[in-house]
């Protein structure tokens, strides 16, 4: 077990190191550097000033040195400076973290609450009308762009209630009710899509588990359907579902990017889009790296959780 954890940690480290190289190279491919952007907004370019600034920022150095320097700063928790806000990047990101986190947790909650029961019911009623209806509904969820779903929901609200949802962010500490109300719809829009994936995996593993001998025994003992399905079967069917929830986390962040934009929520994901659009590349580089760290950690946690939840799996020799 210890060997396994160690191995997983090494792999995660290698992945993140590779990721950092990939991001760094990609950002160097992007046309122009930060000085172009700064001078562009000033309207004139003084070559001497520009070289001075380049030296100040360290981008006149050879690329490998720049890379090592960036990595060192990142590891020490220095996320650089936002040129747009003229603030340390961390000061811009910090107030945005709770927004994204709240949205992600809500979306994940909705996706599990909708996806798992739908998957179980669909498996139990396999081949019936209800099964077809639930499958079509979940596939529809996978097919709709989450930003469009968000727009339609806002539109319906405005049309039917003549009511315009608040488009400025309300902190939960100021007004919890208004905050939850504001996050409910974007959370549902992102969660619906993820619930479709969870529903599908729940359905297929439930179908497998329901064929097992011990389930037949439970039926033979005369246990009620609710007991057999929700206690005995779901327990063993939940492992792949947990793995998927870990993977889902990565997809969620993708969904948040467009959803935060549509619902005008000042989260981290939206900041990434903003930074890309104004070519604030040092910030993009650090934010993407930060996302990669979160995703890799989420997957690692799920993997380790897996061995803990299912003692039958022995990874020591793997």
């Amino acid at each position: 077990m210890r060997v396994y954890i160690f191995k997983r940690l090494v792999i995660a480290g290698v992945t993140l190191l590779g990721m950092s190289i990939l991001i760094f190279v990609l950002m160097r491919l992007a046309p122009g550097n930060i000085t172009d952007m700064i001078f562009e907004s000033a309207g004139y370019v003084d070559e001497a000033d520009r070289r001075k600034l380049e030296a100040e920022l360290g981008i006149d150095q050879p690329v490998p040195i720049q890379y090592v320097r960036w990595l060192g700063e990142f590891l020490r928790g220095d996320l650089g400076k936002s040129y747009r806000y003229d603030l340390p990047a961390w000061d811009v990101i910090k107030p945005r973290l709770p927004v994204t986190l709240e949205l992600a947790v809500l979306a994940l909650g909705f996706s599990v609450l909708l996806g798992v029961p739908a998957g179980v019911i669909s498996a139990v009623r396999r081949g019936r009308l209800l099964d077809y209806a639930l499958r079509v509904l979940s596939l529809a969820g996978l097919s709709m762009p989450s930003f469009w779903l968000g727009m339609i929901v806002i539109l319906l609200l405005v049309r039917s209630l003549g009511f315009i949802p608040s488009m400025t962010y309300v902190s939960p500490f100021e007004n919890l009710g208004a905050n939850l109300f504001q996050f409910l719809l974007p959370g549902l829009a992102v969660g619906y899509r993820s619930s479709a994936l969870i529903m599908r995996i729940t359905r297929s593993t439930m179908l497998e588990v329901l064929r097992e001998d011990y389930i037949r025994t439970a039926w033979a003992k005369g246990q009620r359907e609710t007991q057999v399905v929700w206690r005995h079967a779901l327990k063993n069917a939940s492992l792949p579902v947990i793995t998927l929830i870990g993977i889902e986390f990565a997809f969620l962040i993708g969904g948040l990017i467009v959803t935060e934009t549509v619902f005008n929520l000042p989260g981290v994901a939206r900041y990434l889009v903003d930074a890309i659009q104004v070519r604030d590349y040092p910030i993009v580089q650090n934010l993407v790296m930060l996302i990669a760290v979160v995703v890799v950690m989420a997957n690692l946690t799920v993997d380790l959780l897996y061995t803990w939840l299912d003692p039958r799996i022995k990874y020591g020799k793997a």
Binding site: I11, V14, T15, L16, G18, M19, L22, I23, L26, M27, L29, A30, P31, R126, Y132, R135, V136, L139, A140, L142, S143, M144, P145, F147, W148, M151, I152, I154, L155, V158, R159, R200, I201, R203, S204, L207, A250, F251, L252, I253, G254, G255, I257, V258, T261, V262, L272, V273, I276, Q277, V284, V288, I291, A292, V295, V296
Partner: protein
């Protein structure tokens, strides 16, 4: 090893199917949902091919008749620049289909080749290729596509490349997994014994047998690719103007004029959803047919 009876219903696919027509009818009968998906895909392809015929106006010519509600002249209304929405949605199918198919194929073929080589050669090559794929999958699809698109600059070709980069590692995984299984079959040993070189064995004997899972993957990723294009274009980092992209249509006009002209929001999004819904339905049915191990999952 005990001989297991095949629980795959061979009779269905061989005896009953007489020619292409029979096979098609059987598919429709067995998979009504898949057939519906196929129909949606067919409509999408028809719209793309016959865009000139179906469009009633020039999709990129602006006019002073802005935000006209849907009616006899403008079937789906006009946008804030006076362009006919119906014609734009029809032409938009070309962009969606082109970016979707091109990026999926580019990604699937490159990834597939990596998977074939890494699965066949094994050892250090395999380890290196796998780590590389791990790295590329460590980011959410949209984030990687976003960064790629930002680095390359917004254009039609770059959008295709950015999305294909996201698809490649998935294809590599799928092909590698089936190569690893096929490699152990006795007929591969026979092919080697008969003097078949590595290239011949890999491409003639192994590659054709990875086709089933490969097709399943391609259809499954196609919907994702169309969605990715829509999201990238929506954020202004995908297909640039004047191409009528569904995602782009939703970004500029829709947000601003949503309450005054809801058709600007409804129809392009509906087009995206139906196209992706079609590929997903068809993908599911194809998976059930071509890869029975995954049936119903």
């Amino acid at each position: 090893m005990a001989i297991r009876t095949l629980d795959v219903p061979i009779r269905d696919t061989l005896a009953e199917a007489r020619g292409w027509g029979g096979a098609l009818w059987l598919f429709v009968k067995k998979n009504p949902l898949g057939a519906a998906g196929g129909l949606l895909m067919l409509l999408l392809i028809l719209a793309a091919v016959l865009a000139e015929v179906l469009a009633t106006h020039n999709p990129i010519r602006t006019s002073n008749r802005v935000l006209v509600a849907p009616g006899a002249e403008f079937w789906l209304g006009t946008d804030n620049l006076g362009r006919d929405l119906w014609s734009r949605v029809v032409y938009g199918s070309r962009i969606s289909l082109l970016v979707g198919v091109a990026s999926t194929l580019l990604g699937a073929v490159t990834g597939g080749l990596v998977g074939l080589v890494s699965g066949y050669v094994g050892g250090k090559t395999d380890l290196l290729a796998q780590r590389l794929m791990d790295i590329m999958q460590a980011l959410p699809i949209l984030v990687l596509a976003l960064v790629m698109a930002a680095a390359l600059g917004p254009s039609l070709t770059n959008t295709i490349i950015a999305i294909s980069v996201v698809i490649a590692p998935r294809a590599a995984r799928v092909v590698r997994a089936s190569v690893l299984a096929i490699r152990e079959f006795i007929y591969i040993e026979a092919a080697h014994a008969l003097g078949g070189g590595h290239g011949r064995v890999a491409f003639r004997h192994i590659l054709p047998n990875t086709f089933g899972p490969f097709v399943v993957l391609v259809t499954a990723q196609l919907g994702g690719a169309i969605l990715a294009e829509a999201a990238l274009s929506f954020l202004g980092l995908g297909v640039p103007e004047p191409f009528p992209s569904w995602g782009r249509m939703l970004s500029i006009a829709a947000a601003e004029y949503a309450t005054k002209a809801p058709w600007l929001v409804i129809y392009p999004g509906l087009a995206i959803s139906l196209a992706v819904f079609g590929t997903n339905l068809l993908g599911d049915a194809l998976r059930d047919t071509l890869d029975p191990r995954l049936r119903g999952s």
